[in-house]
Amino acid sequence: MTTLDAAVGTRWCRQLQAALRALRLNKHFPPWAAVAGHLDGVAHLPPGQPLRLDEATLLPAPDEWLRVGIDRELAPELLPRLRAAEAAGDQPSIDKAAYLRALCDVQPLPPSSVRTSLVHEGADRARFEVVVDRLELSLPRLVRWTFRLEETAGDRFTVAELAARASEVFAQRLRVIGTQPVAAAAALLQTEHGLAVLEVVRGEIGPARAHDAGPCLSALLSRASPHLEHTAVDDPLAEQVLAPADDSLGYSRLRKWAVPEAARADHLAWLASLGSRNLVYTYRS
């Protein structure tokens, strides 16, 4: 665990927010504005506490993400209790109340969400899209899975039925496949009774690399689909990329970065040394 004192920690969070905006994240990633909103809460540190970072990802540690939701939920109950001490000029109470009030304006991310929609309803079968957002606290990592599924012949689902299946079955499955590459996830889900996988896309925010000018935040987009005719992999952080076991699946895994303007040259040199042509956006640190 790495810790940053309050001022540096807050600045780190602000830089991560700027990087999130610069990363140009589309619908296949967790909603960047909502993540930036949650980071706003992380940036408001409890009085006297440093910011704890996860060493592997340089993102705020799991406790920091969790604290925002919990303290915000408790704030309406705690604030009235602090009022008298605040009025009496008790500085710790004033600081604590200011912290809680700041959190009241924050909209924390839900730990996970599942959204199901009907894409196409034909005479003999239907196609669905299932979008699963997960805050993987153990990593910590923010991930969005997008599954395009089709009913196999003989099985008919309604959106409501599929939504229920997505909530129950996929949520359970995703605990298992959450750490797998999309190709493995697609292969695992292919076995799901009554559904064929048309496409699995995983958008992931993080990890970040440290630079004197600020965090270099990455985002990874992976896609596995039988309609994808080639394999494209450019991920300098991947120690080993597993090729899809199923030959019928095409596979792509592309990482991109948002780095401080002052870090761009260094970062491009680092990528070049690894033979990577990752896209690099910049933000003002």
């Binding site: 140009r24 589309n26 619908k27 196409h120 959106v159 896609r223 494209a232 042509r277």
Partner: protein, 512 residues
């Protein structure tokens, strides 16, 4: 660029070239392509879309850039470059359907159109010439998303006119879009804006509206101020149509629904089964949800949000489909009491018989009128419009009533004490008598209806009147009879003055 380049004859193919020209000419506005490109960007799942217009030498360059999932070769060749074939035509999660939207950009007669798009690590460029022929090449340089650049041979005021059309179009079509849309115009002394985010809150802008959110549909409805009401149809926040229309009688709304689609010419909404489903849902919301939202807001705003309350009442008075519940206390009197429609007609006399009055603000007169059992509403309040709709006449209180406040005044006291045969008092006037030097009252200081001078009773002289004030600092033995003379003239009294009054005047004049 790689050597995978492919030369196409036309986006339409030779036999369809004439049809393509006809189609391009059918778009209702030449800037309609802005909507089409933004729609494509939304369908591609973009998180941010930028519409940039810049003057670049002799060319106006219009660029729409997104960070969506881009297109692969199959989509480009199979759908983008094939008229009437859309990759999205059977996809309910996407807006575009016909496969004709992209050609709308040729309506501005660009000399060149460059489309860059990337997906899954492959990057493509399509270059369209003015004659609609195209070249497709694979690009080595990495990028993501899709960028479409139109190079139009315009400069100066002509370029500015098109630039402003694009600027207006972005706001009109995209202000409720479900993703960030930004626009900027620069590079010319004739135009320029932004960078600015294009975003408006999804609301009718009318008070007392109700929000309906359910799978596939989001709508805001409110009772309309105008007739026919202004309505708006949208698909995922993109404007399809906005105009006055009686789709739901008396109700303005904005509705976005996956069931709503443009006509091919983009100047209307398809009136199909999907449209009818949406309208049926809106009508149900208008009858089931809107009344409680509207009257809840009307009741809640009374006394707490005066401007909001007045706006709601104006609508209630003007909109024939709004029926104010008889027992809902939403009408504010000038002194702040809340009355229901039922209260206006209650009692054996009712307001129709007793009359109803108006005043700018509460004062001694309105208080007296209220104590006398009558109602007084604000002159400029929306309550007046409600009264009119109910067929209740209301007159200004200060024209209908007089209320003198008796005050001691030396000259008037002198007149009263003299034996001139006139009982009189001094008073400050409120109401219809204001501006008059004197009136008669049967009971001085009583609230009385103004019935016009002259009458019999006690003479009430306005101590604030200019004549009274000008005489106040003169010798009392002279000023008192002169005041009485002025009062007689103001009342139109033509009879001879009394002998006592004449003697008093003579005495005063002799000693002067």
């Amino acid at each position: 660029m790689s050597d995978l380049s492919h030369r196409g004859t036309s986006v339409a193919g030779p036999p369809a070239e004439a049809a393509l020209d006809a189609l391009i000419g059918q778009f209702s506005e030449r800037s309609a392509f802005v909507r089409e490109l933004v729609q494509n960007s939304l369908d591609a799942g973009s998180g941010r879309i930028e519409v940039v217009v810049r003057q670049q030498g002799p060319e106006l360059v219009i660029e729409v850039v997104d960070d969506g999932e881009g297109m692969n070769r199959e989509i480009i060749e199979g759908y983008l470059l094939t008229l009437f074939r859309s990759s999205k035509e059977d996809d309910l999660t996407r807006i575009g359907k016909f496969g004709v939207g992209f050609v709308s950009l040729f309506a501005v007669r660009p000399q060149l159109v460059v489309l860059d798009t990337a997906r899954d690590g492959l990057h493509w460029r399509v270059v369209f010439d003015a004659d609609h022929t195209y070249t497709l090449v694979e690009v080595d340089e990495p990028f993501e998303g899709t960028a479409v650049r139109l190079h139009v041979g315009l400069s100066g005021p002509e370029a500015a006119a098109l630039a402003e059309e694009v600027h207006h179009a972005v706001h009109y079509w995209c202000r409720y879009a479900h993703t960030e849309v930004w626009t900027e115009g620069f590079g010319s002394e004739h135009f320029g804006w932004g960078p600015e985010q294009v975003h408006d809150p999804f609301t009718t802008g009318l008070p007392g509206e109700v929000l309906i959110e359910e799978p596939g549909l989001r709508a805001v409805l409110a009772y309309a101020r105008s007739d026919p009401p202004v309505v708006g149809y949208y698909n995922r926040g993109l404007t399809l149509l906005e105009r006055p229309e009686q789709a739901v009688p008396g109700v303005s709304f904005r509705v976005e629904a996956a069931d709503l689609e443009h006509t091919v010419t983009r100047d209307n909404v398809r009136r199909d089964d999907g449209f009818r489903r949406v309208v049926r849902r809106l009508r149900r919301a208008a009858s089931e949800s809107l009344p409680s939202a509207f009257f809840g807001a009307l009741q809640q705003s009374l006394g707490t949000e005066p401007d909001q309350h007045q706006a709601l009442l104006q609508i209630a008075a003007a909109n024939p489909v709004v029926r104010i519940p008889r027992d809902l206390p939403v009408l504010a009197t000038v002194d702040g009491r809340a009355l229901a429609v039922r209260d206006l007609r209650a009692g054996p006399l009712g307001v129709r018989s007793r009359g109803c009055f108006l005043a700018d603000a509460p004062d001694r007169l309105t208080e007296a009128i209220r104590e006398a059992g009558h109602l007084v509403f604000r002159t400029h309040g929306a309550e007046v419009a409600v009264l009119q709709r109910l067929g209740i006449d209301a007159r200004p209180a200060h024209e209908a009533w007089e209320l003198p406040e008796v005050v001691p005044h030396a000259l008037v006291d002198a007149i009263a004490e003299a034996s001139w045969g006139l009982p009189c008092v001094g008073a400050r006037f409120v109401g219809a008598a204001v501006g008059r030097l004197a009136i008669y009252q049967s009971r001085p200081s009583a609230l009385e209806r103004w019935r016009g001078p002259p009458r019999r009773g006690t003479l009430v002289i306005d101590t604030e009147h200019a004549v009274c004030r000008s005489l106040a600092d003169r010798r009392q033995d002279l000023a008192a009879p002169l005041l009485l003379l002025a009062v007689r003239r103001s009342l139109g009294v033509r009879t001879e003055p009394s002998a006592e009054w004449l003697r008093a005047l003579e005495t005063a004049l002799e000693s002067a």
